[in-house]
Amino acid sequence: MAEFTSLRAAIEDLVPDGSVVAMEGFTHLIPVAAGHEVIRQEKRDLTLIRMTPDVIYDQIIGSGCAAKLIFSWGGNPGVGSLHRLRDAVESNYPRPLEIEEHSHAGMATRYAAGASGLPFGILHGYTGTDLAEHTNVAIIKSPFGGEEVTAVPALNPDVAVIHAQQADHQGNVGLWGITGVQREVALASRNVVVTVEEIVDELDLRGPNGAMLPSWTIDAIAEVPRGSHPSYSMGYTQRDNAFYTKWDAISRSREIFSKWIAEFVSGPDDFSTYLAALDDGTLTYLVDDD
């Protein structure tokens, strides 16, 4: 049964040092506020999983919280590289980062296998690529006719952290729009933390692809309005494309990055300082020209 709690308490209780954490969100519904709390609490030696590690994983990796990253596409969407991720992989800064790399189809299959309680999933994939030699996949033959398929190991994170639009007072979570792998990761993980835009009397489930996670599949829910910024929560907020572009400049320099993290993430008590800076236009002042 889901408990309503503060984000701070949820991360303290359910994301211990050394744990395997999947903070998912396929461009949409990215749990940024929760990621900031991980940085604020100075978690260490995490194994991070995410199909599309973007700005929030760049911030967590740049803050030295992660020992390993399991992923399939690590960039700043539409903008370019994640400079903190690159610095970790290319120069071991601020600490070495082990990587385990897959394709999107492979990661999606791994989550679905994990959610299904299976040891592995299968797909047609990886063949002919060099990735097959650098990651944990195996070609197997179908017992029903011998066709070759690729097996990928199930993912069962210690904890899933996702953002969603709504929870009702019973702790049922509603999300819609691009749902990515939100349901799969929640059902694949031992514990589930959800931040929501709003707690409502009745879930809307409006818009395309409305989906629900019942209260009894979730451990902790915290209400964090705008908690996915610069990602978005369809029906509540818009994607802040300009911030993604600015992030390129902030993250290029170790010094500017550290200053930015100290001022807007690790220094403040909670996410409200970040939102206040967003509202008064100072969130990117370190790299603004004017």
Binding site: T52, G78, H104, L123, G125, D130, I178, P208, D240, N241
Partner: protein, 256 residues
């Protein structure tokens, strides 16, 4: 801007957009392919079905998305499915006619690299990675590739095969559902694989482009077909639609 009144990027997008036929189902990569695919939809191919890996099917964005998961894609889609579903039920099962991709490097056999420059374990440049491309490249009916021409990009052998074209030795596509790269559109011209050897050959140059320039910007000894064509220059209508699309997009992305 050339003397003809269009840029090399504009003719690349317009020539690439012409490759899509009306009614085809196209799995779209972000960036250059997304621009070309949407231009096709807005011009000669209104019934093209655009699919993005975020699970948006049959989407008709008014502005170009910055990411593969912008809200615009979901709001304008016929349906939105989960990420496991888009790859398994739609791409892998063979419902996609055309994959539309870009990459950091391409080699003479149409293999694509979006993973590392240098070695995997000690990369000179760590690129974002393959994302959805490997399975698009293997499972889509055919693949259209689009990228700017330079000797750094068009290399003899890619440092890393992220997405397979015809393999390291051009051995072919027997193992894959799809036929592989059918055409490569660049800012200088058009390449297609030789049907027998699978090696990419220059089949057309854009108006005003010298073949020697293309050879200089290609990292292997590029073969040129004997009946080399010159691409049709952009029409006024094509240019107007492309520029309006980009203008709408720039205005929308600047606001935050």
């Amino acid at each position: 801007m050339t003397e003809n009144g269009y840029t090399s990027d504009e003719i690349m997008s317009i020539v690439a957009s012409r490759q899509l036929r009306d009614g085809q189902v196209c799995f779209v990569g972000i960036g250059l392919p997304s621009e070309a695919a949407n231009l096709a939809r807005l011009s000669h191919a209104p019934n093209v079905v655009l699919i993005y890996e975020s699970g948006t099917i049959g989407t008709r964005p008014e502005i170009l998305p910055l990411s593969i998961g912008d809200g615009e894609l979901a709001e304008q889609a016929d349906l939105v499915v989960s990420v496991p579903e888009i790859f398994a039920f739609w791409l892998q099962a063979g419902r996609v006619d055309v994959g539309f991709l870009s990459a950091a490097q391409i080699d003479r056999f149409g293999n694509l690299n979006s993973t590392v420059i240098g070695t995997y374990d000690e990369p000179k440049v760590r690129l974002p990675g393959a994302g959805g491309a490997p399975e698009i490249a293997s499972s889509a009916g055919e693949v259209i590739v689009m990228l700017r021409h330079s000797a750094r990009t068009f290399v003899d052998t890619v440092d890393f095969i992220s997405s397979v074209g015809f393999g390291r030795k051009g051995e072919g596509r027997d193992r894959y559902r799809g036929a592989g790269p059918s055409v490569v559109i660049t800012d200088l011209g058009v390449l297609e694989p030789d049907p027998r050897t699978h090696e990419l050959r220059l089949v057309a140059v854009h108006p005003g482009i010298d073949v020697d320039d293309v050879l200089d910007q290609t990292g292997w000894q590029l073969q040129v077909v004997s009946d080399l064509a010159t691409t049709e220059p952009p029409s006024g209508e094509e240019l107007r639609m492309l520029r309006e699309l980009k203008e709408r997009t720039a205005v929308a992305h600047a606001g935050s």
